[in-house]
Subunit: 297 residues, 2 copies
Amino acid sequence: MIIGVLGPGGSYSERAAKLWMRKNDLEGAELRYFEDIEDAFLAAVRGKTDLSVIPIENSIEGSVGVTLDLLREDGAVITGEVVVKIEHCLLSKGSPEAIRVILSHPQALAQCRHFLKMNFPHAELRSTGSTSHAARLAGEFEEMAAIASPEAAEKYGLKVLLSNIQDRKENHTRFIVVRAEGSGKYSPSCCKEAGTEVDKESARIRSRCKTSLIAYLAKDRPGSLYGLLGAFAERGINLTKIESRPSKRELGDYYFYIDFEGSASDALIKDALEDIKAKADMLKVLGSYPALGNSEA
Amino acid sequence: MIIGVLGPGGSYSERAAKLWMRKNDLEGAELRYFEDIEDAFLAAVRGKTDLSVIPIENSIEGSVGVTLDLLREDGAVITGEVVVKIEHCLLSKGSPEAIRVILSHPQALAQCRHFLKMNFPHAELRSTGSTSHAARLAGEFEEMAAIASPEAAEKYGLKVLLSNIQDRKENHTRFIVVRAEGSGKYSPSCCKEAGTEVDKESARIRSRCKTSLIAYLAKDRPGSLYGLLGAFAERGINLTKIESRPSKRELGDYYFYIDFEGSASDALIKDALEDIKAKADMLKVLGSYPALGNSEA
């Protein structure tokens, strides 16, 4: 089995993939590294990898826009999730006084915005495809530093000048495991049917599983989102996330990304999805998968 | 009157402020330039400017996270909005073949992600506080280019190598006009009361005005967002935007940012806000202001 991640080695995506592999007894799988999130994602959809592990949401900086956009691609299915604790470090070959350039992925730069403004107001900020790519580049000159993981420091021979530099101590990133529709390479087994009853036992079974979808509601239909959410509320289904993302057609026109508890193989959820299909102008069910919660808290 | 914007001169924020000033007969106001969005925003809240014009949402890349976070600051009020058409250009002193470094604001780099990947896969990407700051820096070396406005090209003596390079031709950014609570420096007059009837005429009056709020719903309360949206749906109030933003406390814990039609001085809206106050764990009404739509389409 080949699993794609954002590379090079030492990225948080690599850490997420290894954690997920361990939890799923897939430690023999081979990791393949990609230059950016889009390449890693599309590799899975186009069958160049069996699965790819992709960052989707950070507890400080919010959703990863490019990942949300890619989920609209035909044939992209979510088959798992994993949460990784993020402890950004400032890495360099040189000393803190010498730093003139700081490199990292834009999400990491944003997660450390206050730190950078307070401590390095005059440093030049460079965007890289990943935090580990930043660490690799920072090895070239003493005046450069990277914001990346401790693993990246070790891998690229850099010193950890400062640890835990993000603006909030608590920092987690959620990754999704993506595969091509119909590939069947990995099908989670724990999403068993919970029964149609809205009782505590069914809710407990249901909470172990998550389903993700994208719905499009035509602009200027008052109450349409309310109607859509009614399909969940009336059935006592718990939403874990709702997020809007521009359709890119015009300002004020959005797709809604919704995560909720339960599996699409569950009769109650099937019924809710039928209801949503009738109410939305477009519906894409992205998949059902085991909800792992804070798996590395 | 002093109006704060993200600087230096030649920024899209400057264009937005000038457009808003023209529409509101405030062309005599003085512009003051700030190094980043946070400084421009807080200047208004702390009374260093009378108003500040701040980017909040782009039709390709979505919300500006730092602006959403700043709106939770005590005393920040929204008093207007303005929409600007964005046509990013590639600006340089040198030729396209010589470009080794491309500078811009992270939002602009994200709006041109595909363009950059296709045309300059090996260029180094540098993040700057604004697009115009990128243009000013790009004037230093021929191997540098900036992604910025045509005004910035003129201001900093750069050539426009390519126009309209963002990933979608249609590209608009919405800016908000922010002031300190109770400053009364600018109070929009058009938000007149629409009456409590849910009829076409009232809806027409109401649609000329917008109110923005932030609500917090404690995690794991099934159906709580549905209940909140019911306060709007039951009264026929049209939502124009709903967006979630991490609370930064833990993954899966969000604030909801909601824009809807109508003024908070309107009896029907007052009633809805009372209802929401009772349902939400926190409510901040950010202000009511004239809805301008695509004011520079």
